[in-house]
Amino acid sequence: MQWAIVIAAFLAASVEFVEAFTLVLVAGITVNWRSSIVGALAAVATLAVIIATLGVALVTLIPIGVLRFVIGFLLLLFGLKWLKNAIQRYSGLKFLHDEEAIYAANLAQARARGEAVGTRLDPFGVLLSYKSVLLEGLEVAFIVISFGSGGSSGIGMAAIGAAAAGVLVILVGALVRSPLQRIPENTLKFIVGIMLTTFGTFWSGESFGINWPFSDLFLLMLAALYLVVSVLLITAMKQRKPRVASATMASEAPMPSQEKEVRI
């Protein structure tokens, strides 16, 4: 189970850090690298504090049975949200996340401010970088805390996975110095959605006293089941209305910034 936690945290963090990196890049190019890096580091520090305090407090103060129920419930909500979005994107009901378009839109927006690029700390650059890393990182923080709370000694493993993803994205980003378009974001989101839903089902089930057959091995079977059903759903949605995709895509523009979907 420990490796599954590392992989889930690594994949989820990769997706989120790639999205955050795009805006850190915008801040670095349009304002200056000093402001961009300071903002990003401040956000990472904030996230570390959140994980350290909230994570440890949850694990030590709340009984494991209650914790597993709450974390399982939240993981199910979170996992189904990711899975639903990934399935919608695969089936053409929703646009694929386009880092290049987001990068271009934000670059134009930042350049429209019309201020010269200097070397001193610029509040706009710091805030843009801080906000993007913090917002994207919050989801990673939640996943790390969830795994730490739900499984034995999982918080360290999840943190290792997330940190490895962060280092990898920064290294690749520093080499390429452009939006990381080739990262298969939707595939990663799809896999993470399945993993979160699987862990959510497993832990919330355990909180109700369910003894899963084959113990931890059942996680793999559950993941396989969710994968098969998801693939079937994608196929069915593609076949049901091929026209839906084009109609929806024509009426929806890709999100220009980090705006999250508000849907009730």
Binding site: L77, K81, L93, G209, S230, S251, E261, V262
Partner: protein
């Protein structure tokens, strides 16, 4: 908008952002809690795992079905 309402909406959007998912998962949990606590429903306890998995899958199908319907309605309009 009220600040408290904004905070609630932000938390809702962070965790789920979809009412069908929220209702589906909550309903599944309530059913499991009832099976676990009501004596008359004790014979169903052996099938709790299956009920949970079916509940999760039904929620996924329902929310995606809603999106397909929404797209079709948008296309008609």
């Amino acid at each position: 908008m009220n600040v408290i309402l904004k905070v609630i909406l932000a938390v809702y959007n962070f965790f789920v952002g979809d009412l069908v998912i929220l209702i589906g998962v909550t309903l599944t949990m309530v059913i499991l809690a009832l099976i676990n606590s009501v004596g008359a429903l004790a014979p169903l306890r052996g099938g709790s795992g299956l009920i949970l998995i079916v509940g999760v899958l039904a929620t996924l199908v329902a929310t995606l079905g809603r999106e397909v319907m929404r797209s079709e309605n948008k296309q008609k309009a």
